[in-house]
Amino acid sequence: MINLKNADPTFKWEIAKQEGGKQILKCFGCSDCAASCPVRYFDERYNPRKIIRLTLLGMKDQVLSSPFLWFCAHCHACTEHCPQGIPVAELINAIKNYAVENGYCPEGYKIQVELLQKMGRLYEVEDFDLKKRQKIGLPPVDKTIPEVAKILEKTGILNKVGK
């Protein structure tokens, strides 16, 4: 049940202030976004309209702590469809950014940032990979890219995700 006693009426305005979040107030709930979202066809628990709706209702904690918020593939199918001209994918992003800024970053993301910081890439390059490359005539790649860590530091993302 949605208990509006727990609603935060300022939440939607907070999201509207975010980059890409401004148009959220235009949503009239037609669900074209949800019907066009390819992720939804694999996992019905993900529903961009529902996220938007809960945001408009002010259900801050429910939205920000939902693991489904992070399912968006950023394919922009919803943005193409929305009759109200809402950049839905950007909007979902805005909510994600807000979630991170407010300490709701999911563990998986933190781990990804850590990996990036450590190696400069998400997937470790092992000797096996280098051998394979050599076999098909590709030049070797560096196992780590230290510049990425510097970039991460500059962006301040480490603090934001609490690392």
């Binding site: 009239f28 939804r40 019905e44 529903n47 309209r49």
Partner: protein, 702 residues
């Protein structure tokens, strides 16, 4: 100049005062009962009750009204203030151009009606019944418009012919009606009472016709006419009783010539004819929005996807017998990529098509996919009935229509269950939105506000008695149901009758006038006029008296003050302000349609505001020039309040937005001159917001 003061049965005791030479002060005891004689050619000041009342008693005079009753007596303010208000009004009137009586001769008793659908037909026969001449032009070769293409009319479901055929019968038996087919307006000139119109007519191709129908049998060109098959030479059972050639599709093969019992000419001749008219009625009906633009629904690509009209015609001509149908709502409408508005009648149409198919083929499974169902009024009964019949309503806007294994698939979310949903169907009906006939309005010089003609969309404008000779009927301005179309057509006929039965119209409505000596033809004013009243004729700025609403917005836009509104020119206004404002005053310049009325209400509700608040009534907040604010500040005003209508509530469409834009510039300028920018305030004050007005002026007075 005369100054008429009403003492309200000797309750108001003005001290003696001299207003200067040639100004006669007249005391009346009850102006509201015994009306004083005032000629429309003289300039007067009338001091008494609120202008909201006085204006009704003296509608056709050149007057500045001073509100003695509400602003002085009820407020308990001094008679000295009353004197100042009167003196300032006199100052204004001295510099004012009186309103010139505008006379429009109604030379022509003929009305041109553009469009031969039910709206146009109704107007023409009503006019003829009442002894006027009506020229009805129709761009197709047959009468009937959209209604003639339908099978039945909703919500009751009677065949279209029940409505249209008696109407046509009345029309063709009427007197003084001229009908032109294959005809459009090429050009229109003139003004109310005497329009000159050039009509352009394409020939019909079929000159003499016995109605044998052999031509259609032999014609090799078959086309799909909105869901129904027909040939390039065809017949519509309305009027006239004669076949016609569809020039767009005819290949001039000559087969029909060989069998015709009458006479056919395979040449599309264009002829022109000039006619005159005293009034014009636009009855051009509606256009279906092109569903091809909504690409995700596959219209034009998948044969089973059709519009409501095509579906209706295909089902009723037995060309289509679907087993499973999905009717999709809001196609194009309520969509920022297509039509941002709700087309109003397509919800009804969708219900109607659902009824039509379940009437004829009860075994057909019908789904309606709508993000909202707007079944206003008695359409709710139809909606109820259809659910009882087993029609399934889905809430949600379909995202896509696909083709899979020879079937159409509609994809949507069903918002009632929160689940994704796919429906396989053999026909998908798109309830498309509608657009008005922009082209005709543009030809008539009527400005569009987005998609709609601005002159007809604003309800406050409908009440203004403008000497305008152009009327609309039916769906020409906005999609309307058949019943509403007929009512609207009768209303239009009535307006035309009241106009054309007169020999001339005289009006004292103030309009803007351009002083040619001052005007540099910079064209700044043209874009600011919300009514398209300003144009360039022979390299000079010209204001169309028929269209000007008298808002005064252009007078402020003009950098050389060449445009002046009768009753309200910048110079006169400036004199009034300079005469009225004293050190420490608050000057309130209030829109006559909203904020000014709040001050009357303040008096009735026994609010009070300080004596140093001086109020002047202006036509529109958009008619206040920054220089007027400076005039007041120069005279030592503590603050200037500009009061206008709330956003979107402006009587003149956008005047208050102009005021808002100017306020920002003004504030910047004030700051650069060392003033506190808050000495000027632009506020939206509704006509009943007495409290708001009082609070604001009190705050400014602190």
């Amino acid at each position: 100049m005369r100054v008429l003061v009403c003492t309200c049965n000797n309750k108001i005791k003005l001290p003696d005062f001299d207003l200067g030479p040639d100004i006669n002060l007249e005391m009346h005891t009850d102006l509201c009962k015994r009306k004083a004689a005032i000629s429309p050619d003289e300039k007067v000041v009338i001091a008494g009750c609120s202008p909201s009342l006085m204006e009704g008693l003296f509608p056709d005079v050149n007057a500045e009204f001073v509100n003695l009753h509400e602003h002085i007596v009820l407020m308990g303010h001094s008679m000295d203030k009353a004197k100042d208000l009167i003196a300032a009004a006199v100052e204004k009137m001295k510099a004012l151009t009186p309103i010139k009586r505008k006379v429009f001769k109604i030379e022509n008793k003929n009305a041109l009606i553009i469009g031969g659908g039910i709206a146009g037909i109704e107007v023409a026969s009503r006019l003829s019944e009442n002894g006027l001449n009506a020229t009805l032009i129709e761009k197709a070769p047959f009468l009937g418009g959209t209604v003639a293409k339908l099978d039945r009319l909703y919500p009751e479901g009677t065949p279209y012919s029940h409505t249209l055929m008696p109407q046509i019968g009345k029309l063709i038996s009427g007197k003084n009606i001229n009908l032109f087919f294959n005809t459009e307006v090429k050009e229109i000139k003139g003004s109310v009472g005497s329009y000159k119109i050039i009509l352009q007519t394409h020939s019909r191709g079929v000159i003499e016709c016995t109605n044998c129908g052999k031509c259609t049998e032999v014609c090799p060109i078959e086309i799909n006419d909105e869901g129904k098959k027909r040939k390039a030479i065809y017949y519509v059972p309305t009027f006239p009783d004669k076949y016609a050639i569809d020039w767009k599709n005819c290949t001039k093969c000559g087969e029909c010539l060989k069998v015709c019992e009458g006479k056919i000419e395979l040449e599309n001749k264009i002829s022109e004819k000039e006619i005159t008219a005293g009034a014009v009625v636009v009855a051009t009906g509606l256009n279906y929005y092109d569903a091809c633009n909504v690409e995700e629904y596959g219209y034009g690509r998948y044969p089973g996807v059709m519009t409501t009209l095509e579906f209706e015609r295909a089902v009723t001509s037995e060309e289509l017998k679907p087993e499973k149908v999905v009717i999709v709502y809001c196609v194009g409408s309520r969509d920022s990529k297509h039509l941002p508005y709700c087309s109003k009648i397509c919800c009804f149409l969708g219900l109607k098509e659902a009824k039509l198919i379940t009437d004829r083929l009860p075994q057909t499974q019908v789904y309606v996919a709508a993000m909202d169902m707007r079944s206003s009024g008695t359409f709710e009964y139809l909606y109820n009935k259809l659910r009882e019949r087993g029609v399934t309503f889905i809430k949600g806007k379909p995202s896509e229509i696909l083709q899979r294994n020879g079937k159409l698939v509609v994809r949507s979310e069903d918002l009632y269950t929160n689940e994704l949903l796919e429906i396989e169907a053999d026909a998908v009906v798109l309830s498309t939105g509608f657009t008005p006939d922009k082209e005709t309005f543009e030809k008539l010089g009527i400005k569009l506000n987005g998609d709609f003609p601005i002159l007809f969309e604003n309800s406050s404008l409908g009440n203004t008695d403008l000497p305008r000779g152009i009327f609309t009927a039916g769906s020409a301005t906005f999609p309307a149901a058949v019943r509403d179309t007929l009512i609207d057509a009768r209303k239009a006929a009535f307006s035309v009758l009241s106009l054309l039965k007169q020999d001339k119209i005289e009006t004292l409505q103030p309009v803007a006038r351009v002083d040619e000596d001052l005007c540099s033809v910079c064209r700044m004013c043209i874009g600011t006029c919300a009514y398209n009243a300003i144009s360039i004729v022979d390299d000079k700025i010209k204001i169309n008296e028929e269209l000007c609403m008298g808002c005064g917005v252009c007078t402020i836009t003009c950098p050389s003050y060449a445009s002046q509104l009768e009753t309200f020119n910048p110079e006169a206004f400036s004199r009034q302000i300079k005469s009225l404002v004293k050190e420490g005053d608050i000057l309130a310049l209030l829109c006559r349609w909203s904020a000014y009325n709040a001050t009357d209400k303040a008096a009735y509700d026994k609010f009070s505001y300080p004596e140093n608040v001086k109020i002047i009534r202006v036509p529109c907040s958009g008619a206040v020039d920054p220089s007027h604010v400076m005039d007041a500040l120069d005279k030592g005003a503590k603050g200037v309040l500009i009061g206008g209508c709330y956003p979107d509530a402006c009587h003149y469409a956008k005047g208050n937005f102009r005021a808002k834009a100017r306020e920002q510039v003004l504030k910047m300028n004030l700051e650069s001159m060392g003033f506190d920018k808050n000495v000027v305030r632009l506020e939206w004050i509704g006509k009943d917001e007495a409290n708001k007005f009082v609070e604001i002026v009190k705050e400014m007075n602190k």
